[in-house]
């Protein structure tokens, strides 16, 4: 009995002595290092003197100031009868709805403009909760979470789940916000060719081989409903086959497709007749068909709960102003109550698609039923410059289009369905613009 106690005592004492010695050694060592790392004063002053930092702006351009007027373009005046605004994202004409404006104004009378706080700190109003539950109900999912900016959900939801030790398979054409999200997650990124099932399968097979370093990591698949860069719809049923085989978590960004695809506007899942519960996370935007500000994610309760705690753009950012929340709720109700508008929008989209397809000068990238059209000028050389000129020509004829690096972008508005003359005008001007360039 006593022997044991003695033994334990001795061991303890020895342990502490060793610990003590180690501490001293560590101290000495770190001191020694400090001595070594002391700055040489003369060299330091020389280096400070020679230090010539690069300019604050990454690529200083001399013509910056001259181009000032061209950087920003003003919104089209709504009162202009002849102007046709195809730059504005206003598929279901929610932005012009008087009803929404009135309801939003009432909301300002009750709640003021801003919320003065993040969601956790008295920035959650009952209206925020109402929007979250109506979004969840609209999509048929358990829970939704809203963000204060269209950009915020894609760029913050991805890093809330994907970490350094995960693999993300994403389409090479994912939009900029998602790209930022993938970048922020620091996961291993694997891009597959745009909408190419075979390429994705190939990459999945490679990653799942037993000797691959990625074999045992969690795998995510990130795609878009309607791609912002091309206007095409993702081949969801085929992708889901791969998702099941390779046990991928699938996140869909429906920033554009939410509210316009499917019979009732539920998005790409309804379009293909797929149960939403097959999808791990749906990311959507309130700036598309809904015509407000903000974005959201929808999924099961436990998955959303994770975001509420660890998504920085949700936790540390002020919540969405209440009148915008109210506008979104009203718009959702309107989408629900008038599915015929969606039908008309799809008909209109097909009509425009047909025109672009049959046109000799344009090649269209986007899907026929997408009201978000991306098309290119067929002549290859100096295409970008030509597209700019086409847009300029259209603007001078009262038709506003966006030209960017992916082509010419056109956001259709359902009200054009009734205005045949305007639609014909668009076609005529587009034809004319192209002809001017060709000849």
């Amino acid at each position: 009995m006593f022997d044991e106690v003695e033994e334990i005592t001795v061991v303890t004492i020895v342990f502490f002595i060793v610990l003590f010695l180690l501490t001293i050694l560590f101290r000495l060592f770190s001191n020694f290092e400090n001595e070594n790392s002391k700055l040489n004063d003369i060299i330091f002053r020389q280096r400070l003197r020679d230090f010539c930092p690069a300019a604050l702006l990454n690529e200083p351009k001399n013509d910056l100031l001259e181009n000032n007027s061209k950087i920003e373009t003003f919104a089209v005046n709504e009162g202009d009868e002849y102007g046709i605004d195809l730059a504005k994202v206003n598929y279901l004409n929610m932005l012009n709805s008087l009803k929404i404006k009135e309801i939003a104004a009432e909301c300002i009378y009750k709640y003021g403009v801003g919320t003065c706080g993040p969601r956790g700190f008295f920035g959650t109003t009952e209206i925020h909760l109402e929007l979250e539950s109506s979004l969840a109900k609209f999509l048929g999912m358990e829970e939704a979470i809203i963000y204060a900016y269209g950009f915020a959900a894609p760029s913050n939801a991805v890093p809330a789940y994907c970490k350094k030790t995960d693999v993300i398979f994403c389409d090479e054409k994912i939009n900029f916000a998602l790209e930022q999200g993938v970048l922020a997650s620091k996961s291993i990124m694997i891009y597959f060719k745009h909408n190419s099932i075979n390429d994705l399968r190939q990459k999945l097979i490679e990653a799942s081989e037993m000797n691959s370093p990625l074999c045992h990591l969690r795998k995510f698949l990130i795609i878009e409903g309607i791609y912002c860069k091309t206007g095409t719809i993702c081949p969801l049923p085929d992708l889901l086959g791969l998702v099941k085989t390779y046990k991928l978590r699938i996140f869909i960004d429906e920033s554009i497709s939410f509210g316009i695809l499917g019979e009732k506007g539920r998005g790409v899942t309804e379009h293909f007749g797929i149960d939403v519960n097959e999808i791990d996370l749906i990311i959507g935007s309130l700036e598309g068909a809904v015509g407000s500000i903000g974005s959201f994610c929808a999924s099961t309760k436990s998955i959303i709960e994770q975001q509420r705690l660890s998504s920085t753009g949700y936790v540390f950012s002020a919540s969405l102003p209440t009148f915008q929340v109210r506008a979104a709720i009203t718009a959702l109700k309107m989408i629900d109550s008038s599915p015929e508008d969606l039908f008309r929008l799809q008909l209109l989209s097909r009509k425009v698609h047909k025109f672009l397809q049959t046109s000799l000068c344009y090649s269209v990238q986007s899907d026929p039923i997408s009201p978000y059209k991306v098309f290119n000028f067929k002549i290859k050389e100096n295409r970008w410059q030509c597209e700019r000129e086409i847009c300029d020509y259209c603007r001078s004829n009262g038709i506003y289009l966006i030209a960017n690096e992916y082509g010419i972008i056109m956001n259709l508005n359902v009200s054009l369905y009734y205005q045949k003359s305007k639609l014909l005008n668009i076609f005529a001007v587009l034809d004319c613009a192209a002809n001017n360039l060709v000849h």
């Binding site: 400070l48 206003n90 700190f121 789940y161």
Partner: protein
């Protein structure tokens, strides 16, 4: 009495040494021997005179010093040259006025520290026990058999078995404007925080939780009217990016006014404050650049820096000495991982700081940081999310507070969420910078323009603050906030709770340390109709759990008195009076508080 400020006062003289080339010890000696340069106040504050004045003092010393102790000719010349340069360009101009910088970080007793750790471990232990006996109801996912779990074990354990116990203290839904008073929608939980049910009752509380510094969160009045007018005219959103037909007249007017308000050449605004940081920092930096960031910087800054791909070094919170050490080291060593013997300097160095830190209640040591920035040829990014509108004589943030030149800060960033009762953020600076951002910023290329009513509210507030509406309401609000802040902080010091931060910062953290005490405090205060915010691990260090109070110009003296009485009572009950500093025995009179502008 261990205050961090003690070291802080030393910092100032160290900076002085580096600016002027005087021996640090000399300054220190003078400081103590001659005329009590640094004074200790009974309430634990340290009087501290900012770097500019230290410099003046030092100058008389300079000649003597250089004559006696410098033997190396070349070294001497270099030093002299440098001294002349700083004195001509940077410091004299700023040295208009003396600002007393009172900041306090009282440390708790060892017993409190021990109890805090113990309390946390008990909480964790109980959590594990609870997890073992009552596995979570919602852990099973449908359709996902054989998948690895979506989140790591510890995070889900922590949120389910530790955070859930105090979940009711956050995310309280409100059903009114978050003004001086706020109406909470009462809720109860019948299953220990797993779910909540609304009782249908409403509770009117004094609002000490919202960032409504100037009280502009109002459902009526000129600002709301103007916002509604804009809503009818322009709609909820312009539906496009700034570069592609999303700009309206309000945006242009807002940017002009913001630039005028801040005294800079130009400004650009964005729809979300968080995104302003996260999307614009990457446009300014690239790999090979160095960011030196304060350890308490906001998540959006950290995200922006992370996205930029630049290297980050972190300096201790508001510790100018450490910042200088980092700067020296980094200039000396340059970029790491170079071939042996080669030296490659950083492309550029960006110092990122905030004006008022929202969790600490501290105000950035701007004059010293500007001096350092100039000395080491770095750039400065100042995030004024919590300081714009809230401090300074004209509400122009920390630059106004310290009477600095806005041109000395390369990038001025801020948000309109807080003092302006709106949403969104801005970046202000030179014409060249803003034009560059208009062209290159991700936010103006890809993100929706600011909502017109939101912009209208900010314009209306800016006009009031600048006195353009023909009244002095703006000035009065700024003064009321400053008075409220000093009154509240002084009374709290008398009560004997430990508060952090600068005496002029409207963010007042009251230290509660123990996790359970944070929750108890928040709950009891809501019972007594005061809405506050509790912050604990992991948002703060384990040892620094706190209740945070945000003051507002909308609070009346009576409301503050009620809050103070209640806090005193509750602090007695829960045991929060940790402060061991001597207390000011004289009653503090609201009307007699001096505002040293």
């Amino acid at each position: 009495m261990a205050t961090r400020m003690n070291q802080g006062a030393g910092d100032a003289s160290v900076t002085t040494e580096l600016l002027t080339g005087i021996n640090f010890e000399n300054v220190k000696n003078e400081r103590h021997s001659k005329n009590g340069y640094s004074k200790m106040y009974p309430n634990g504050y340290t009087k501290y005179v900012d770097g500019t004045n230290c410099y003046k003092r030092g100058k008389s010393y300079l000649n003597g010093h250089t004559l006696t102790s410098s033997s190396d000719e070349e070294h001497h010349n270099l030093k002299d040259k440098y001294v002349n340069r700083t004195s001509d360009n940077t410091l004299r101009k700023d040295a208009k006025k003396e600002r007393v910088f009172k900041e306090s970080f009282e440390q708790p007793s060892i017993l409190t520290a021990l109890l805090t750790h113990l309390g946390f471990y008990i909480l964790m232990f109980l959590g594990y026990l609870s997890q073992a006996f009552f596995p979570p109801k919602i852990a099973q996912e449908k359709n996902r058999d054989g998948y690895p779990p979506l989140y790591d074990r510890f995070a889900s354990f922590y949120s389910r078995y530790v955070y859930r116990r105090v979940r009711d203290c956050w995310n309280y839904p409100i059903c009114s404007v978050p003004g001086a008073e706020v109406i909470l929608k009462e809720r109860v939980t019948k299953d220990n925080g797993w779910t909540f049910e609304f009782t249908g009752n409403k509770r009117k509380c004094l609002n000490l939780g919202s960032y409504n510094y100037l009280g502009f969160a109002e459902p009526s009045g000129p600002c709301a009217e103007f916002a509604i007018e804009a809503l009818h005219k322009y709609g909820v959103s312009t539906g496009a990016t700034r570069q592609q037909y999303g700009t309206c007249e309000l945006h242009v007017e807002l940017e002009k006014l913001t630039a005028e308000f801040l005294g800079v050449e130009d400004a650009i605004t964005f729809g979300m404050g968080f995104a302003t940081n996260a999307l614009n920092i990457p446009t300014l930096l690239s790999p090979g650049c160095l960011v030196i960031s304060d350890e308490k910087n906001h998540a959006s800054l950290i995200l922006g820096i992370r996205l930029s791909g630049a290297t980050v070094k972190v300096f201790h919170h508001n510790d100018v000495k450490h910042l200088e050490k980092l700067l020296r080291d980094q200039i000396y060593y340059g970029q790491p991982n170079q071939p042996k013997g080669e030296y490659k300097p950083w492309k550029k160095i960006l110092i990122v700081v905030e004006g008022v830190y929202s969790m600490e209640g501290t105000i950035v040591r701007l004059p010293e940081i500007i001096a350092l920035k100039k000395k080491y040829k770095a750039y400065l990014y100042l995030d004024e999310a919590h300081s714009i509108g809230a401090i300074g004589k004209n509400g122009r943030g920390v630059i106004d507070y310290f009477n600095c030149d806005p041109k000395d800060v390369d990038i001025l960033m801020g948000t309109f969420t807080k003092s302006f009762g709106s949403a969104g953020g801005y970046i202000a600076g030179s014409k060249q910078l803003i034009t560059y951002l208009r062209q290159q910023s991700y936010a103006s290329k890809y993100a929706c323009a600011m909502s017109p009513p939101v912009a209208a509210q900010i314009i209306a507030v800016l006009k009031i603050l600048m006195g353009k509406d023909g009244t002095d309401t703006g000035r009065k609000r700024i003064e009321t906030l400053a008075r409220n802040t000093r009154y509240f902080r002084r009374r709290l010091a008398q009560i004997g709770v430990i508060t952090y931060g600068n005496e002029d910062s409207p963010v007042v953290p009251i230290l509660a340390y123990l996790y359970s005490k944070i929750a108890a405090m928040v709950r009891t205060l809501i019972e007594l109709n005061i809405a506050t915010v509790g912050v604990g691990y992991p948002a703060t260090p384990l040892m620094e759990g706190r209740i945070r109070i945000c003051l507002s110009a909308a609070h009346t003296k009576e409301q503050l008195d009620y809050a103070l009485e209640t806090i005193s009572k509750v602090a007695d009950e829960i045991g929060l009076k940790f402060s061991r500093l001597p207390k000011d025995p004289n009653p503090i009179e609201y009307d007699k508080i001096e505002l040293d502008y």
